[in-house]
């Protein structure tokens, strides 16, 4: 479904990605794991069109994304929940959700999508008219996921959704992700929390210093000595 081939990127003279290639098939749940500053966020920014690589190509369902602008990539059904959530702090919860369903593809079913989001996160419905900036971190993450669902993603990317959240909220968010994946949504999860990622994703790539150094089924990676030593602390 999504294919990255030989992606290389840099900020100024600092290379952050070296020839990164990966492929995610429809209905898969794939994780990209690695330490802080390994280049994970950069890769997501490239897929969303917020950043241009200097080499390589991203394609989605057979068509190249390289000439598309960020909003056009959203219209393809590629939705990102960025690190730090990027909710609109001065808008209400309700308005944030409306913004999620702004794109032409999802707009006609806005009302139906509202009920779906409130079904998954009943908490958000209670907070409907609250200013989003006044929500707790966990509530903001729920809002970020809910807002992404308003866009009817075909391919959902999450950047560090567990960062800074209480274990209870993390469980809730990941249960929702698993449920969405069972309903045939393709999910690409970027996480520093390796243990958690390998539990939910069926397959994973390991990114280190901008290079993919390992890939495979999650249960194989959980047994891998290098992964155990570097990321699982075993």
């Amino acid at each position: 479904m999504l294919r990255c081939e030989g992606i290389s990127a840099a900020y100024g003279f600092m290379r952050v990605l070296h020839q990164v290639s990966l492929e995610i098939a429809a209905e898969e749940f794939v994780a990209l794991i690695g330490a802080n500053s390994a280049g994970k966020t950069t890769l997501l920014k490239i897929i969303s069109g917020l950043l241009r690589p200097f080499a390589g190509e991203v394609s989605f369902r057979g068509t190249s994304l390289m000439t598309l602008r960020p909003h056009e990539i959203v219209h393809q059904g590629i939705i990102q929940i960025p690190e730090g959530r990027w909710i609109f702090p001065e808008m209400t919860v309700h308005e944030n959700l409306i913004m999620g369903g702004y794109n032409v593809r999802a707009k006609p079913r806005r009302e139906a999508n509202f009920s779906r989001v409130f079904e998954l996160f009943p908490h958000l419905e209670q907070r409907r008219n609250q200013i989003a900036g006044s929500l707790s971190g966990g509530e903001q993450q729920m809002l970020a996921v809910g807002r992404a669902l308003m866009a009817e993603p075909l391919f959902l990317m999450l950047d560090e959704p567990s960062l800074g959240l209480a274990p209870l909220i993390i469980d809730l968010i990941f249960e929702v992700l698993l449920k969405l994946n069972r309903e045939k949504m393709t999910i690409f999860l970027v996480e520093q929390n390796v243990q958690l990622s390998l539990e939910v994703a069926r397959r994973a790539y390991v990114l280190e210093h901008g290079r993919i150094i390992l890939q495979g089924a999650s249960k194989d990676l959980q047994e891998n000595e290098a992964v155990k030593r570097a990321y699982l602390g075993i």
Binding site: G49, L50, F88
Partner: protein, 290 residues
């Protein structure tokens, strides 16, 4: 008590003039919030709209109040063109480049007007010029009242657009975070261009309406821009209601300045308020974004 009556008379006139200042400043404010661009030539384009009324009057005998309907779409188009071909190419460059560009536009527009219309003061007669209306014990010039009513209507309309339409929400989303807005599927570049055009469209309304109130000269644009900047700083950069409040304060301050200090000191009053706000509440009266 005649003193008190005169005071209220000045306040009413100030509020009405302030609403016109708001009309001029809110476009600048909306442009700033979606592009982080400060257009130093904003006031000059209001002057362009005023001189367009002069041309339409001399050429076609059109009353400025009729010309509004011709000038607003033209100003919108001019705004789109200037944004697309002058502003957008430098928007991602250094902030000083953008400032230099708009300052350059100031000189181009002012010199152009000077070349075509000479430095003489110009006025255009309108069918309302000189007429007055009695509001209870107070007298108000009809053009001022019309400007006030129009500005109030537009303020209400813009507020409704910002609050409840997808276009308005997109503007607010971009103001809060352009990247997050792009991830929502908003075409950020297009909204920026439309808002720039909208700012010019508002100038196309404000320009003709102040024709009975101000005398035209080619160099008045920078002064108008400065007033708009003061309003934005007063109310908070990019804050819609702040621009409304700032406009009204400026109008009233100016009117009271003329009443109590005379024409010599009055122009200093708005600037004094500006300095006081910068000293004690630099984020603006209602807060804003940097």
């Amino acid at each position: 008590m005649p003193g008190l009556m005169i005071f209220f008379q000045a306040v009413i006139q100030g509020i009405m003039m302030g609403s016109v200042y708001f009309l001029m400043a809110t476009g600048l404010s909306m442009i700033f919030s979606v592009t982080r661009l400060l257009n130093f030539a904003h006031g000059d384009f209001m002057v362009v709209a005023m001189y367009s009324c002069l041309v339409l009057f001399v050429g076609l005998k059109l009353d400025p109040y009729v010309s509004i309907f011709l000038i607003t779409p033209l100003m919108f188009g001019l705004g789109l063109l200037i944004y697309r071909f002058l502003i957008r190419p430098v928007l991602r460059a250094h902030i000083l480049m953008v400032i230099q560009l708009t300052l350059g536009l100031v000189f181009i527009v002012e010199s152009g007007l000077l070349l075509i219309f000479t430095a003489d003061f110009k006025t255009v007669p309108t069918f309302l010029t000189g007429s007055k209306i009695y509001l209870g014990p107070f007298i108000v010039g009809t053009p001022l009242l019309v400007s006030f009513l129009t500005s109030s209507f537009i303020a209400g309309f813009l507020f409704w657009v910002l609050k409840t339409t997808d276009f308005g929400r997109a503007i607010r989303a971009i103001a809060q975070s352009p990247d997050a807005a792009a991830l929502m599927g908003i075409n950020v570049g297009r909204i920026q261009m439309q808002v720039f055009g909208l700012g010019f469209l508002l100038l196309g309304i404000a320009g003709p309406m102040v024709i009975p109130l101000l005398t035209m000269m080619p160099f008045m644009g920078l002064h108008l821009t400065l007033f708009a900047f003061i309003i934005l700083v007063l109310g908070g950069m990019g804050n819609f209601l702040g621009a409304l409040l700032g406009g009204l304060i400026l109008g009233v301050a100016e009117a009271l300045g003329y009443l109590y200090l005379g024409a010599g000191f009055a122009p200093a009053v708005p600037y004094s308020i500006f300095v006081l706000v910068l000293l004690f509440k630099p984020q603006g009266l209602l807060g804003g974004r940097r």
